[in-house]
């Protein structure tokens, strides 16, 4: 019994010693760590190192100037992009190292100096990527840049932090993509046009003899070719919109006359679908409240692109209506003309309305699948209206038809 008791006490003692060692080791380690952290936070040299490490790690070029625009700091990325060593340029005027030029090769370092501009505004400013930086060895780098004023405790400008990014590679990728899209659409367009042309020749009685069944299939083939041709054209337009390369040739013109002309040219399609299509004059003028001048008010926009908007909205309205038809009206207020395209179609549910102007969005139902389309028409329509300074929206209820509205700015000569 005594032996068992002694053995038990011995075991407890061994376990206690082990636990003590483990605990003391842990707390010792912890003490060492916390002391190191405290030391780090109190050590200014390490602080400076952190800043240096941070600046060295940034892939963008960073330089700092004092209140006389003398360089006080250049990080390694800035050294690489300019070809100068920080040590050899510190204290030198920034424009002799950071020689920036615009697209027309004019210097932007004197009157247009972005550092002066940020001091003047007192705020952070950015310059888009139209600036060119001249490397020491005369190479040119296309950059985008931002400038932040440095202020003392009294709010006086004492310098500026300037950050710049090499955009050469991005520009090159963009150029290659533009070239690809332009080449691909050109290469696609030519065979589609040929396809469309050959089908149209076969369907022409003056050239080929075909029976009624063949004619029916040829018409379907022709419509498919036309659809492909529209898709290619729309893709090209979307690319131009996204690159903000689309050109607007704005003029002052009569919206009423353009709507009238468009309605007239779509009467054929309406008749084919056994629907009415009318420009509702009475309603247009009643809307305006300015009966006498309503028809003569002009808008300021791109006429061809406005017609594209009208074609898209009216063709959609005709496509998705099975009976009844489409009414167009124009209202004028002080600043804007509002066109309304109202149909008697199926109507559009709330969740579809939210997404209908988005790129490649197509409502997933039998009716949209049957009528075909690219899902780009309303995206292009919205972009054109907004780029013209107008707005576009719709009102619709399932089973009660849809009303699409868009506005354009009025211009009185």
């Amino acid at each position: 019994m005594l032996l068992w008791l002694m053995l038990g006490l011995g075991l407890v003692a061994i376990v206690s010693i082990v636990i003590y060692f483990v605990i003391s080791k842990f707390s010792k380690k912890h003490k060492v760590d916390s002391r190191t952290l405290q030391e780090i936070s109190q050590d200014n040299n390490v602080h400076e190192n952190q800043e240096k490490i941070l600046l060295d790690a940034i892939a963008d070029g960073v330089y700092i100037v004092d209140f006389e625009r003398n360089l006080t700091l250049l990080n390694p990325a800035a050294e690489k992009m300019t070809g100068w060593n920080a040590a050899e340029v510190t204290g030198i005027k920034c424009w002799s190292v950071m020689s920036l030029k615009d697209q027309k090769d004019n210097s932007v370092c004197q009157d247009n100096c972005p550092v002066l501009a940020c001091w003047k505004s007192g705020e952070y400013i950015t310059r888009d990527d139209t600036c060119f930086l001249h490397h020491k060895n005369k190479n040119t780098v296309q950059i985008s840049s931002s400038y932040t004023p440095l202020k003392d405790n009294y709010g006086h400008n004492v310098g500026a932090v300037c950050i710049f990014r090499d955009e050469t590679e991005k520009k090159e990728i963009q150029r290659q993509r533009d070239e690809f899209v332009s080449t691909a659409s050109h290469e696609l367009r030519t065979p589609i046009t040929a396809l469309e042309g050959y089908i149209s020749i076969v369907g022409n009685d003056k050239i080929c003899k075909t029976d009624d069944k063949a004619k029916e299939y040829l018409e379907k083939a022709h419509n498919t070719a036309l659809g492909m041709s529209t898709l290619v054209k729309n893709l090209l337009t979307v690319t131009k919109i996204e690159d903000t390369k689309i050109q607007f040739n704005k003029t002052i013109f009569s919206l009423h006359d353009l709507v009238e002309e468009t309605v007239e040219s779509l009467q054929g399609l309406a008749a084919e679908r056994k629907l009415y299509l009318r420009l509702n004059e009475t309603e247009s003028q009643a809307y305006s409240g300015e009966r006498a001048i309503g028809r003569s008010l002009n808008v300021f926009a791109d006429k061809d692109k406005t017609q594209e908007v009208l074609y898209n909205l009216i063709e959609n309205a005709l496509k998705y209506s099975d009976d009844g038809g489409v009414d167009i009206s124009i209202a004028y207020d002080h600043d804007f003309a509002t066109v309304c395209v109202a149909d008697t179609g199926l109507g559009i549910s709330g969740d579809v309305q939210e997404h209908i102007f988005e790129k490649f969005y197509r409502a997933d139902n039998t009716s949209t699948r049957e009528t075909g389309g690219t899902g780009l028409g309303l995206f292009i329509t919205r972009s054109i209206v907004e780029m013209s300074g107008g707005k576009i929206w719709l009102e619709s209820q399932v089973g009660k038809g849809s009303k699409f509205y868009f506005t354009l700015p009025i211009r009185i000569e």
Binding site: R189, A194, E196, Y198, S200, K206
Partner: protein
């Protein structure tokens, strides 16, 4: 019978347009590049020239410029028909003396035939 010179480097489009114009009762001569266009225009003296722009050897704009300063062709009706749709290209075509400027993606075969008919009737 009016004679049309069709200048187009794509053989399928050349085939389609010439077939259609022949069916409409016109006499059709064709050229596949800018150089051929110039020699054929001087030799055949067409009433109307349908001219592509992006072509081998000499571009359509240069062909147009030369045709307008050549006595045999300076009065021919010339319609540019091209894939180039920028306003700057259109005004270049007009300034060089084109009677009309059609963008291929914006017109159908029937539209082109109608334009030609109207222009030759003037």
């Amino acid at each position: 019978m009016s004679k049309i010179l069709l200048v187009e480097d794509d053989s399928a489009l050349r085939d389609i347009y010439s077939t259609r114009f022949l069916a409409e009762g016109y006499e059709v001569v064709t050229a596949a590049d800018g150089e051929q266009a110039l020699t054929t225009a001087v030799k055949e003296k067409p009433n109307l020239i349908l001219l592509d722009v992006m072509m081998p050897k000499i571009s359509g704009f240069d062909v147009l410029d030369i045709l307008r300063t050549t006595p045999e062709t300076k009065d021919s009706k010339i319609i540019i028909m091209t894939a180039l749709s920028q306003p700057s290209d259109m005004s270049k075509g007009r300034n060089l003396g084109a009677d009309d400027y059609l963008v291929k993606s914006q017109v159908t075969l029937t539209d082109v035939v109608e334009k030609v008919k109207v222009m030759l009737a003037e």
